[in-house]
Symmetry: C2
Subunit: 356 residues, 2 copies
């Protein structure tokens, strides 16, 4: 079993981690099957791309602001979740495709609003929609995509999905509010962090899995299992994102490192580093007190980012993410083996290896 | 008939206008019945107030931002529309009350987003939520109220209302986008203006009437009639609002006069005044070119407001509004006479007389 995986592992750090995780979890032939899955993933992504192309285009400013971000095409992880969950059952039907589109539209809507809230200038390596079209267009474009998403969910007539979507959006907004209230405060626990990212990120992954499961006609037990999978995948995904914010550079992550620090967001790497590095705490207190001098601030942020990197907090964050990926894999225990399940496992493990 | 109305008319300019309109339309005993209706209106408003008090309160910042505006209590015209339409049928039931609450929440959500977009500092005579709690809290509070409204509409299970609400919100957003694209352009026609206000204001009045009608179990013909009523009432209401922006003062309208001009919004009074006053056009062109000098700008805005007032454009705007009130009254021709109908007529006519 180890043999089948090793040649891939040597070439690819994601597959290497996948190999060791999959051996631990008794799914050691997973690495070997990855090549077969490549075409399967490509098909799913093409389906999602086609669905995204269906969002109408016109000369409206909100339309331009929405497509500005949609056209930069994210990783489409949430639509992938819908697609893969549905393929555990009756397949990626027309209804499931609309749900995959809807979840990407909700995600894009939250990014458009978040970028206004955070006064962000770069997203996916390009100027944000608010920079190009203004805050107003970005806010209204977010509203428009949200309504469009709800209309699409409604039109599928899959029972329970619209209510659940509304509840999930409410969870997301409350988590954003919680994050806002904490902004600039450099105390805070892992529990606070988890509460925020379960709401702002994992909730929508949960919905994506639930929506795919329900559209695919799965059992209640399978739906619950997939929702748990989505929850832990979402947490892992966000934790990796938060590590990349300190560990990446502008060319790979599409924005300046240390953005979370500048926005006063207390994420997992910072919580760990604050615990390990007394100097960091002093530096941040000085930063908060001295927020008015941009040049001094910029140098202090660079120093703080460096302290976080050197503290080992990024490795701790990836270990935290890996713990959640393991919980995600565990959640799938009741799901029958097969290509769709393997693909879900791959998505979960691959989320650890991403560098952008 | 004239006799019965005259004593009221002498005391109240609204009733005076109502009297002459109602005589024209052959509903001349309306003035006499107004006193009986007073208690009826008070009951409706108290019901709406109770419904608004049901919006949960907690320590969240979005909650505080939302209640900041909700607690300043607007005129509750939209919930009144739901209440009155439902009372033409089976009455202001628990479901209808939830719909009345929902329409006020959507309205409040749009104000929270609009105030961010317009960088408004005053609303209902108080600092805007964005001034007190920040733009971010104001955006998320708007999102939260919107979701809360949709959840309430959904929970009533009155057929067709949620779909219609989503479509109406989309209309509102598109109209806001249209207004945004036109911002700062001082050309434009009454048709452009009508298109914008039908979307941004009248659409929600239409939904309020439709929702009340459907909750009250009215016929399709009555639903259509009430939607037409809502459309014209909404247009009249917005036109009066736009006249007040030039004609009122900060103590009565709760914000500085000339706000629309400063925000570059081309409203009915300005369209008329531009047509009548060549000096106004010169002044505005200079304003657009010279937008960087705040003191000079402030003096120019004051001069422009004065020119609009002196051009007779405010009287023309009120005449335009009155035309739409007449269309609203006409739309109710197929509705049986009675106290609920009288109340709707009163609301429509009273919308012309308001000074705040």
């Amino acid at each position: 079993m180890t043999h089948a995986v090793a040649p891939q592992a040597a070439r690819d750090p994601v597959l290497s981690r996948l190999a060791s995780l999959s051996i631990d979890r008794g799914i050691g032939d997973l690495g070997r099957r990855l090549l077969e899955l490549e075409g399967f993933v490509r098909d799913n992504l093409q389906d999602v791309d086609r669905a995204l192309d269906e969002v109408p285009r016109n000369e409206r400013m909100i339309n331009a602001a929405a497509h500005h971000l949609l056209d930069l095409r994210g990783k489409h992880l949430r639509p992938m979740c819908v697609a893969l969950a549905s393929r555990l059952g009756s397949g990626f039907s027309a209804a499931a495709r609309q749900l995959a589109l809807a979840v990407e539209l909700v995600h894009t809507a939250t990014l458009l609003h978040d970028d206004v809230v955070d006064e962000a200038v770069t997203r996916r390596g390009r100027p944000t929609a608010r920079v190009t079209y203004g805050n107003a267009a970005s806010i209204f474009a977010g509203d428009w995509l949200l309504v469009g998403a709800l209309q699409r969910v409604r039109a599928t007539e899959v029972p329970g999905l619209l209510d659940r979507m509304l509840a999930i959006i409410e969870e997301m907004i409350i988590a954003e509010s919680h994050q806002l209230e904490r902004r600039g405060r450099i105390d805070g626990s892992v529990e606070d962090y988890l509460r925020i990212i379960e709401g702002k990120t994992a909730a929508l992954f949960r919905w994506a899995m639930f929506a795919g499961a329900r559209a695919g006609g799965l059992t209640l037990e399978q739906e619950n299992a997939l929702e748990q999978f989505g929850l832990h995948l979402g947490v892992a995904f966000q934790a990796v994102d938060d590590a990349l914010d300190y560990g990446g550079d502008v060319a790979t992550i599409g924005k300046d490192p240390g953005a979370d620090l500048r926005e006063g967001k207390l994420t997992y790497p910072l919580i760990v580093a604050l615990d390990r590095e007394p100097r960091l705490s002093e530096l941040l207190h000085a930063l908060v007190a001295d927020g008015e001098a941009p040049e001094a601030t910029s140098a202090a942020v660079t120093s703080a980012v460096e302290l976080v990197r050197r503290s080992g907090a990024l490795e701790a964050t990836r270990a935290f993410a890996q713990g959640h990926v393991e919980l995600a894999l565990e959640a799938l225990a009741c799901i029958e083996p097969g290509m769709a399940k393997d693909q879900l496992l791959t998505v979960a493990v691959a989320s650890l290896g991403r560098t952008a």
